[in-house]
């Protein structure tokens, strides 16, 4: 049985349908992420799980118990807020002891458990400080320790890393993964940062306009986005429009606009073999493309030729914008550590690109 079940939940604010008939299940011990642009309904869904908002229809079930009518203070669910919401008039220790006191934990229990929680987030020496005396990352850790100290069934995290700078963010991501593994509490993480979602989660639900566009493991969501929205929202993606010319057993042939003929595989989620004449697009991540001055495509590869239009040198990788001879403009990414790499391509250089038939998949419509 899933730890948390969301069954056909909808929430409307006036004319705005924030959450539209969403159903999902989260298993015990899972790191589950809701990702999407602002206004996609992810925060509303989180607030309903916490109990700050009520679904208009549908149910939220935790460990088989319908949470309807249970106020936030009575739910075995804690939240880490984006602003951390540490109590400014309490020391770090008092902040962390707060949920224990509310739960009427015995006095002699509180001290060791607070100490342990501080240990967990590596702030053992900061217990007597006040929140305003801490750095952003430290406040973040106090918020985590406070929310985890009485071992909730579920921890909700509302964009907890949004206020941190890039370097600290990466470090905190690693800490979060470790902490989650250590304490074994189920995390539901809300973010608009797709990179964060990919890095942290066991599973990701990509939300848009109140619905879940795709729910899968990070590698599936990234490698095989179910539709144009997911392809576009998660990372950078080439979306090549084209018409199906003939269908085969495992793959089929497409005539891609401005690129040429290519073999492709059907949508890995729906697995429906497209029919000749059908239009749609092929999704291809820039790093799945091979780019070279000259190359002979392997049997399971498609290829095309063009000229470098422009490039972005990013240090670890270089992104090339290539104008294909047939007219399309595509994006390819080349790691700068690629073996045998002797020189960069310059603007105007003729190049060839190639990609495996199963490097991306076909999205119909």
């Amino acid at each position: 049985m899933a730890l948390l079940e969301i069954r056909n939940v909808s929430r409307r604010f006036g004319d705005f349908l924030a959450v539209d008939n969403v159903s999902l299940e989260v298993g015990a011990g899972e790191f589950f992420t809701l990702v999407g642009p602002s206004g996609c309904g992810k925060t509303t869904l989180l607030r309903m799980i916490a109990g700050f908002d009520q679904p208009d229809t549908g149910q939220i079930v935790l460990e088989g118990k319908n949470l309807e009518g249970t106020p936030p203070e009575a739910r075995n669910v804690h939240t880490v807020f984006q602003s951390y919401a540490l109590f400014p008039h309490m020391t770090v220790e008092q902040n962390i002891a707060f949920p224990l006191r509310m739960a009427k934990t015995a006095d002699d229990q509180i001290k060791p458990r607070v100490a342990e929680a501080l240990e967990d987030v590596r702030l053992a020496d900061k217990g007597k400080r006040y929140p305003h005396e801490l750095s952003g990352g430290q406040r973040q850790r106090v918020a985590l320790a406070r929310a985890l100290v009485n071992r909730p069934k579920l921890l909700l995290l509302d964009e907890p890393l949004a206020a941190l700078d890039a370097k600290l963010k990466e470090q905190m991501q690693l800490e979060l993964i470790e902490l989650q593994r250590e304490v074994g509490v189920t995390f539901i993480y809300v973010t608009h940062d797709q990179g964060e979602a990919l890095a942290l989660s066991h599973r990701i639900a990509v939300m848009n306009h109140g619905i879940i566009e795709q729910l899968d493991e990070p590698s599936k969501v990234y490698g095989f986005p179910k539709n144009r929205f997911v392809a576009d929202f998660i990372g950078t993606c080439n979306l090549w429009e084209g018409t199906v010319t003939s269908a085969g057993e495992r793959d089929f042939v497409l005539d891609l606009d401005g690129i040429g003929t290519a073999r492709a595989i059907p949508n890995t989620t729906t697995k429906a073999m497209p029919q000749p004449g059908q239009r749609g697009c092929l999704t291809l991540r820039p790093e799945k493309l091979r780019i070279a001055a000259d190359l002979a495509p392997l049997p399971e590869e498609n290829s095309a030729a063009g000229k470098v239009h422009d490039f972005l040198y990013l240090g670890d990788v270089t992104i090339y914008i290539v104008n294909l001879d047939q007219g399309a403009r595509i994006e390819a990414m080349l790691p700068n550590a690629a073996s045998g790499r002797t020189r960069f391509f310059e603007v105007g250089d003729p190049v060839k690109i190639a990609w495996r038939v199963d490097a991306g998949h076909f999205i119909d419509g």
Partner: protein
């Protein structure tokens, strides 16, 4: 580096036009009168009011003609001690009542829709737009024996076999008047504090298991303490020295120390004694503030 002191001096000079006028104002109209009163409190009264000269010719040379008698009288005569204690009591009751009345109101305003907050605050300070005395006279009518309130109360008392009472000219009337006059001074600092509270803190407290009562006592109230202290000081200090309200609403058995001080300067023409009483009152107010600060610290330590 060399020109830095000059730059600092220039910066200080540049601040002068801004800081000099208020400083001058305070020195002229606050510090100087206070010093005059300090001197007055150790002088003898003049023959026809005012003060007798501070320097007198005595057996050929000039000497200071000062005394501590005024202070001795102020602190030793029982009647004044009683008045100090009574005034202290009235001021404390007024402060507590103001706090109890103002807190929910300030909270309501601070949490109301932003659109209406200014209007509600305006309503709080609206009474200031009419004259203070007129408002107190209005209370004389409201509490007067002919008004429905007194008649109703006395009818109710009569029904249970008790003697009728006079609402006006009683300690009750004084407290009502003091609370009424000072309530906005409690509401405004409280509102200014409560309005700045981050509502997410209450969400966090609730999320971590606090019910409405606990959210108030563990989060809202301790965070509002600076507002409580500011409001309490703004109410307590003027209430302690009040004389117009007890004058008009208090009658003979509800006069406060402020009335006596006023009397020394006017009817009794004993400025030195009035000044000495003023400073004793100031000392009482300071002691009360220190006691409150100490109690506040204790409260916070206990909350730990």
């Amino acid at each position: 580096m060399a020109n830095q002191p000059a730059a600092g001096l220039r910066a200080r000079m540049a601040r002068w036009p801004v800081t000099a006028p208020p400083t001058l104002y305070l020195v002229l109209f606050f510090l100087v009168p206070t010093l005059i009163m300090v001197l007055a409190s150790i002088q003898y009264p003049g023959e026809f009011g005012g003060l007798s000269p501070i320097l007198i010719e005595d057996q050929g040379h000039t000497r200071l003609d000062i005394t501590l008698e005024n202070y001795q009288r102020a602190v030793s005569e029982t009647i004044y001690l009683q008045l100090f204690l009574k005034s202290l009591w009235y001021a404390i009751v007024t402060t507590v009542l103001c706090l109890v009345l103002a807190y929910p109101l300030s909270m309501m305003i601070a949490r109301s829709n932003k659109k209406y907050r200014d209007l509600l605050l305006l309503l709080v300070i609206l009474p200031f737009w009419s004259n203070f005395l007129i408002r107190i006279y209005a209370w004389m009518i409201i509490l007067g024996p002919q008004a429905a309130l007194a008649k109703g109360v006395n009818a109710a008392l009569g029904a249970v076999g008790m003697e009728p009472v006079s609402l006006l000219f009683s300690p009750f009337a004084v407290i009502v008047g003091l609370v009424y006059v000072h309530l906005p001074f409690m509401i405004l600092p409280l509102y200014a504090n409560l309005e700045k509270h981050d509502p997410t803190l209450l969400d966090a407290a609730q999320d971590l298991g606090a019910n409405a009562w606990q959210r108030f006592w563990k989060v809202t109230f301790p965070l509002s303490l600076p507002g409580v202290y500011a409001g309490a000081a703004l109410v307590f200090i003027p209430a302690l020295g009040a004389f117009a309200v007890p004058d008009l609403l208090g009658g003979t058995d509800a006069i406060m120390i402020g009335n006596v001080i006023k009397e020394q300067f006017r009817e009794a023409r004993d400025w030195p004694f009035g000044a000495a009483l003023s400073f004793v009152l100031m000392a009482v107010a300071l002691l009360a503030a220190l006691a409150a600060a100490w109690a506040g610290k204790r409260y916070q330590q206990q909350a730990d």
